[in-house]
């Protein structure tokens, strides 16, 4: 069940435009934060926590780590959040306004970086908060309960290690959880809404029409 980033209420899958509980939608947030693009690289540090060398090292680590789970793109985001109470809705808004800088992810000029495959670890150094956010394509592969538990267990690492080491440790654990869930999902893909013949840039069978979402069928 989807969860609203603002009110944390679960809502039915058919709520395409707004949250049935709080009325949150991207359009309302656009009016609040503006309809501007946010440049986004693999390591986006808006607060200046990491040095350049640390950024490069973290970038290389994430590039190596994401090879285990293609086509997922791993990224780290250090946002500059002025109002911590609005962090969740602000990150929801930012995620949908990311303009991905391809060179930071890959040197292949022909490669297409799709935001739906982004798996971003956010760290707010002002309010000492961490969280994960991901695109639609990763919804079946992320076990929300396991991710929250893993973050809770990483509190000590976050408190005692520096930011780079903490991010490396947490991302390694997150990828391990992702792989576990991927194995489970791929054993029974139909149960998790995985269509083997959907035409996407990552599949080669272009003659098969994509399956229509269940929400559309119900509506």
């Amino acid at each position: 069940m989807p969860i609203c980033p603002k009110c944390l209420h679960e809502f039915h899958p058919g709520a395409e435009l707004a949250c049935p509980h709080c009325g949150l939608s991207l359009q309302t947030l656009d009016k609040k934060y503006g309809n501007k693009n946010i440049p986004f690289s693999r390591v986006t540090d808006e607060t200046g926590v990491l040095r350049l060398r640390e950024q490069e090292k973290l970038n290389a680590f994430l590039a190596k780590l994401e090879r285990k789970i293609p086509p997922v793109r791993l990224a780290v985001y250090f946002p500059d959040i002025q109002v911590p109470q609005q962090r969740a809705e602000q990150m929801f808004w930012a995620f949908n306004h990311f303009v991905i800088e391809r060179p930071s992810f890959t040197k292949d000029k022909q490669a297409i970086i799709e935001p739906e495959w982004l798996f971003v670890f956010g760290l707010d150094v002002r309010s000492d908060a961490v969280w994960f956010m991901w695109g639609y394509a990763l919804d079946p592969y992320v076990n929300l309960h396991d991710m929250n538990r893993m973050l809770n267990k990483s509190l000590l690492t976050l408190r005692e290690a520096d930011a780079q080491q903490a991010v490396i440790g947490i991302m390694r654990k997150a990828v391990r959880l992702l792989r576990q869930q991927v194995r489970l999902v791929l054993k029974n893909p139909d149960k998790h809404g995985i269509d083997m013949v959907i035409t996407t840039p990552h599949t080669e069978n272009k003659n098969v029409m994509p399956r229509q979402p269940e929400t559309e069928a119900e509506s």
Partner: protein, 338 residues
């Protein structure tokens, strides 16, 4: 050769003495018959060494007979007076019993059942066997069908004459009666051959000796067969005599008598069983090490492959919500420092 001469000599002397007036038994001196006397008798000098036995100065020594210790059977018709030892074959006279147990040469024939030539041949063969095979071969001679008292049966003789630290064989031979032949092996040989082996050895010797009719040929063949087959069965080096068989155990020879011995079951304690297993496992150290390495390496390799291999995610149907084009999912926000 000696036996007929002795018989004729004794018969002639007895008949001559009977024709004259023989002294009574009370008048004759007590004789002590020994091997020395026997040897002197064989050489023809015994009469000269015993002049007191002559009843008359005119009588020749050949007409006198030492009758004190030789049993004499007197028939009713007074036709023949014959010493019982050479002729009587139904039993072994007690006079000869000690000589069966006192032997150092190999041939045990106190009854003089073999002629001198036969004795020499047998003794030469015994010496040759001792020289070439390192085996002390003893041959005890009895008359055919002669009843052997227990005192001088085969195991009793072997018990007395076998040397403790040497390899010994005894051939119990009845002249003209091959079926009564027995063999005795020293404890070492007997233990290696066992009861069945010993019986088979005796059977083969009898089979080989049965080809001949002459008692001397039978005896020599049996002797040779006993030694050769013993060597063949035991596969003992020919030129090296066995010097020590059982130094501490007493020499108890055995004959071909079937003795039922219950085979005691081998009882192994746990420590012995464990040691046996360890000994067997130590012979396969390489194989066990390989198995252990395989047991360790295979799971480790599988885990390594499982963690390193690439998992390609399949695209799913996007559940677009809240008007967001790319994604609207977030985990819980964790505050790590208060």
């Amino acid at each position: 050769m000696i036996r007929p001469l002795l018989i004729s000599l004794l018969c002639g002397s007895l008949s001559a003495a009977e024709s004259q007036q023989a002294p009574s038994h009370a008048e004759l001196p007590m004789l002590q018959w020994s091997k020395k006397d026997q040897k002197a008798l064989m050489n023809g000098t015994w009469w000269d060494k015993s002049p007191s036995l002559l009843p008359e100065p005119e009588t020749t020594p050949s007409e006198q007979v030492p009758v004190e210790h030789l049993p004499i059977i007197v028939n009713d018709d007074d036709a023949a007076v014959v010493p019982s030892v050479p002729e009587e074959t139904s039993y072994v006279h007690e006079y000869f019993l000690p000589d069966y147990l006192r032997n150092v040469r190999g041939l045990i024939d106190p009854q003089r059942l073999l002629s001198e030539t036969e004795t020499n041949d047998v003794q030469e063969l015994i010496n040759a066997i001792k020289t070439h095979y390192g085996i002390n071969l003893y041959v005890s001679i009895f008359a055919g069908g002669q009843r052997v008292p227990p005192m001088v049966n085969a195991p009793a003789i072997a018990r007395q004459i076998f040397n403790a630290n040497e390899r010994n064989l005894l051939l119990h031979f009845h002249v003209g009666d091959l079926s009564a032949m027995q063999i005795v092996l020293d404890p070492g040989l007997d233990a290696r051959l066992g009861n069945n082996g010993r019986r088979d050895l005796l059977y083969q010797i009898k089979q080989e000796a049965a080809r001949f009719d002459n008692p001397q040929d039978v005896l020599l063949t049996a002797m040779a067969a006993l030694v050769q087959r013993t060597q063949a069965d035991l596969n003992v080096p020919v030129t090296q005599p066995i010097t020590v068989l059982q130094s501490s155990a007493p020499v108890v020879p055995e004959v071909d008598i079937e003795i039922e011995q219950e085979e005691a079951e081998e009882k192994h304690s746990f420590s012995q069983t464990l040691k046996m297993w360890i000994g067997q496992l130590s012979q396969h150290v390489v194989m066990i090490t390989g198995v252990v390495i395989a047991i360790v390496i295979l799971p480790v390799s599988y885990m390594f492959y499982r963690n390193k291999r690439t998992l390609r995610l399949l695209p799913s149907v996007p559940d677009k919500r809240l008007g967001a084009p790319h994604g609207a999912a977030q985990s819980a926000t964790i505050i790590y420092r208060k």
